[in-house]
Structures are given as C-alpha cells and as structure tokens.
Subunit: 300 residues, 2 copies
DNA sequence: TGCTATCCATCGGCAAAACCGATAGATTGG
DNA sequence: CCAATCTATCGGTTTTGCCGATGGATAGCA
C-alpha cells in the first residue's frame, strides 16, 4: 500500500466516481481502476460497490476513507514540520553557556529571538567552555557561548567573536599593586590561584602566556574548577589570580580587580557552533546574538 | 512522496545506517540511497548528515522521522479498521423497526449481539415497513424488522421469516361476534378502520384479500397511518378492524381481539436487508436474530 | 602512516509496474 | 430501446524501483 492508493481513494470519494476522479487527478480512468483494485486486493477488503452507473463506498470503505484522510494529512504535516524546522521556524535550539559569560544581554536576546521564531523551543544548558565544545561536536547542543575552541576542535567547530574579555588581576583589596593598571612583572613573586585548564584552556593558557611574557613562570598555589572558587581562594589569601572580567565578581567588595598593562591581555568570548550542524535556526540565532553584541558595545 | 520513503527512513533511523536498513529490508543499499535522496529532493529538506562512516539525522530529519512514524501507524490503523469492519468486528449497524413489531426478544438480542461483537456501534431507527424498505435500498439502514418487501423492492432486498403474525379482528368488547374465532363473512356489513396502505401494504392488502375471499369488499370508514390510531378509532365506535396480533394492543380492556377462521390469516414478520450490502456484520446479526426467533418459538 | 573495513553515491541494466488509449460490458435515464 | 455514462480489461509505452558493481570517503587498527 502506498500513499498513491489513498490519494486515489479520497479523490474517488470526493468526486463520486472513478471517472470523475481520473479527470480531477489528470490520470487515466483505467489507472485509477487498476490501482484501487490492487488496493482492495492488497488489504483484502472490498472498498467499493460497483454497479454500472453509480459507485459507492462499502461500510469498510467509508471507515478506510476516514483513516486514509488522517494518514494523508499526517503525511502532509510531516513534510510541513520538516520544512519548518529546516527553515528554522520550528524545532529546538539547545544553547550552552557558563555563568559569568557576558557580552550579550541574555534575557533581551532570548526575548527578541522568541519574537523572531515563536515556534522554536529553547533549551539552556550550563557547561564549561570545554564541555560546550564536546557537546557541540557531539550534537548535544546547537550553539554555545564559550571561549574560542582549541585547535583540536577547529575542524568540527566554528566560532564568531562576541567580545574580548580583558584579563584582570584579582588581588586582595589592600594589595600594593591595586588598583592598577598593573605590570605583571610586579606580581612575579606572588603565588597564583588559577582556574583549571580543563574547564577553560583559553583562560589558563592566556594567564601562563602573560606571565611568560612578563618574564616569569607563575608559582601556582591552587587550581580551581570554577571562577567563583578562584575568587574565594584569593579572598582567603591563597594568592592572586588572573581572570577575565566578569560583572558578577566585580561586585566583590573585598577584592581589587585591576586591569593589566599588557596589550594582549584578553581572551575571546565567542558564539560557537558545529560546522556540520549550521542550520538556519543556528544561523538565525547567531546573527541575532551578533547584532546584540554590536548594540551592546555601542552602548559602552 | 510515498509510504515507501517513510518506511525506508524509519528503517534507516532504527538500524543506524543505509546499509543496515538495506539488509533489514532485503533491498539493495543503492535503492535505499536513491529513494531517500529522492525524498529529500521532493520535500526540499536534507534529512541526513552523511559523513562517510556514520550517518545521522538532521534536526529536520528527526522531526520528520517522528511524523513519519505517525503516518505509518495511521496507515496501518486504516487497514486494520477496514479489515475489522469487513469481518464484522467493528463499525456501525443501523437497525430499522416499528413499535409493536415483536417476534424477537429485542433487549436480549441486542445484549447477545453486544457480547459477540463488542466493538460494533448499534443505531436503532423507528420506521414504518415501507420506510424501512426504502432506507434499506438507499443504504440508510443495514437491517430492518419489517413486513415482507413488496415486489418492487425484491430485486434490491432480501428477507428471512421471523414469524407469522396472525391477523386478528378488532371489535368493540360487546360485539356479538366476539370472542371468535370469527368467520369474516359475519363482518361483511361492518364499517372498517384500516391502517394505511402507505405505511404497511402487506397488512392492508392482506385485509382486503381476506374480505375478498369472504365474498365482500370492505366498506372503509377510516384509514389511519399507525396501528395505535386504528385502535383508538375502533374504541370510538368508528368501525371494526383487521390488524396483526400485537402484544401491546392486546392489553386493551375495552376491545375484543378475535382470531379468524381463515387459514391464511397472517402476515409475515421478517428481518430484511439489502442484497448489495449483505456484509459480515449484517449476516452475523441476522443469524443471531433467527436463532433468537427459534428459541422464542420453542418457548411458545 | 598505510591497510582494511565500512559506509554512501553513482552508474548501467533490467524488470516490475504505473500509466495510457481503446474497447467491451453493464447500467441508468430518457 | 437508445444514448450516455460508468468500470474492467487488454496491449503497448514509459517510468521507476531495484540490483550489482564500482568508486570515493572515512574511521579504526596495525
């Protein structure tokens, strides 16, 4: 049984006869006759009462007709929904992010995306930068707000800059170097608390790089998996730290957040996506996110 | 788009690859590949991400897959329901009857039919004998408890005897001929109240025939469309009547219901159906009705 | 880094089948 | 009884679904 059989059946029912259906469908009457005979043969149920002039559906035929209509509309709906998803008008968008990641006004972005794509379901998943790369590669999420992917991910992932987060020195409030701008060489003798390379290689590597350029290799006292712990450590006197600027931590009254003198003291904050899954939906969302970036940077 | 495409798609989704699906479906891998390429072309949506080794569905493909499953199961359900209706296991049975029609224990018949065919919906429609013949011919009802169809209906309709209803004379209680058995010649001079030929030709014609055999043509005072009115008329002294035995009217205390001496003083009470629409369902119901007749007549 | 196994797309050929046009049989309406 | 209209059937044509073979691409493994 194929949809063709159902289409012919419905046409016959709607036009009252094989001949009328054949005219409507622009198919020879003999074709209709054969196909419907095949259908009856196939399902083993006579669907029509043929009596010379008038053709009518049997009781089973009427039942089948009703279900055939359902089937055909299910098929149409399948096509329609697939096309809508393909056009980015429907479906689900899974977004990765990490707390402290700024650069876009998230609520506003979501809001205007909702306006643009009312039938798209959004799913927000909190992950570290590294987790996002893996999830993007494996198709667990569709876009991520994260750091620039490491080289090993560059074949699968693409990214677009949202903003450059300046790396700042985090010091106890009364530290002599505060409030900066700081020359990192002044911190050469300090003990450092860094966030783990695992969670965010970009930040870790940048910290090491900056120290290296300042002519020293940092003495790492502690490594924390998330930036909030880093802040706690510094607050506890465990050492100083280097972290990207983050509005939330900036509010801390017991610490000094000092800019660096180094020119390249920043890490990229990007929107990333899988090259293979760069759907219309992802493209739409990305464009919107980049627009919001512009307006944000325009504001200050 | 045909169901074949959907079947292939589902098979690929369930088996993880075109090749695996081809093995499962016993079709060449190239066929699967071609058909699914056609499908994608047809609906204008890429459904798969092909990357050498592993094949995965796109977001649109996943959506389409879900809907394709619905479509396929709708198609299956269509076939199943049609087959059930054809086997008489499902559907609707529309039954015609007239009040006073006896011969079967209706509640009991319905009850045991419900037991035999639990998924069949029953619809009872009250009609005169003639209305039932027309409704049967036009497919408005499926079976009717009625009188033997007139010759003009015999090409379309068939009928099976439920019982012979004896024709009885209905007289005022104190009529000299009561309580019978009556020789119709004794009523030759009476005025008659008959039920209309339109509603029940069999009864009307039988009355005329009996009078004719008794050597007179009845003087018809009134004609009523339903038997209950006939009874009222006789009660009002309008005349005497000839009607088939009917349990309900028999209870009337002011009238005498007298058997006739004539041998052929009866009209057939039958179950009738359309020759063209003698479905399994109708056959099943008919057989049950006839069984119930037997047991009813066995009881008395 | 090759080697191999596995996957999908493509091509030519074949056979099934969908379709067509014509026609015959059947039925209805005038 | 004739004309009109319907469906089934038949032979022929074209489409197309399928097959087998092949080639390019990729992933796993040595």
């Amino acid at each position: 049984m194929e949809l063709r059989h159902l289409r012919y059946l419905v046409a016959v029912a709607e036009n009252g006869s094989f001949s009328a259906a054949s005219r409507r469908l622009h198919v020879a009457q003999s074709a209709i006759s054969e196909q419907l005979a095949n259908l009856e043969q196939d399902i083993g149920v006579p669907l029509f009462v043929r009596s010379g002039r008038k053709t009518a559906l049997t009781a089973a035929g009427l039942t089948f007709l009703e279900e055939a209509r359902h089937t055909l509309s299910a098929a149409d709906r399948a096509v329609d929904r697939a096309q809508r998803v393909h056009r980015g008008q429907a479906g689900t968008l899974r977004i990765g992010f990490f707390t402290g990641g700024t650069g876009v006004n998230f609520p506003y972005l979501i809001q205007s995306f909702r306006k643009q794509s009312p039938d798209v379901q959004l799913s927000l998943v909190e992950m570290t930068s590294t987790q996002q790369w893996i999830a993007l590669r494996d198709g667990k999420i569709d876009v991520g707000f994260t750091r620039r992917p490491e080289p090993e991910f560059r074949t699968d992932l693409q990214s677009a800059l949202i903003q450059q987060d300046p790396i700042m020195a985090i010091l106890p409030k009364n530290h002599p170097a505060a409030p900066g701008p700081i020359d990192l060489r002044d911190l050469a003798q300090q003990r450092f608390v860094l966030s783990s390379r695992e969670a965010s290689p970009a930040v870790f590597d940048k910290a090491i790089e900056l120290c290296s350029e300042a002519g020293f290799s940092p003495h790492i006292a502690s490594i924390c998996s998330v930036w909030s712990s880093v802040v706690l450590m510094v607050q506890a006197g465990e050492g100083v730290s280097l972290l990207p600027f983050n509005e939330q931590q900036f509010r801390n009254r017991d610490l000094a957040f000092c800019p660096l003198k180094a020119k390249n003291a920043s890490v990229d904050f990007v929107i990333a996506w899988a090259r293979r899954r760069d759907t219309t939906l992802v493209r739409n969302f990305r464009q919107l996110a980049l627009q919001h970036r512009k307006s944000a940077s325009a504001r200050g």
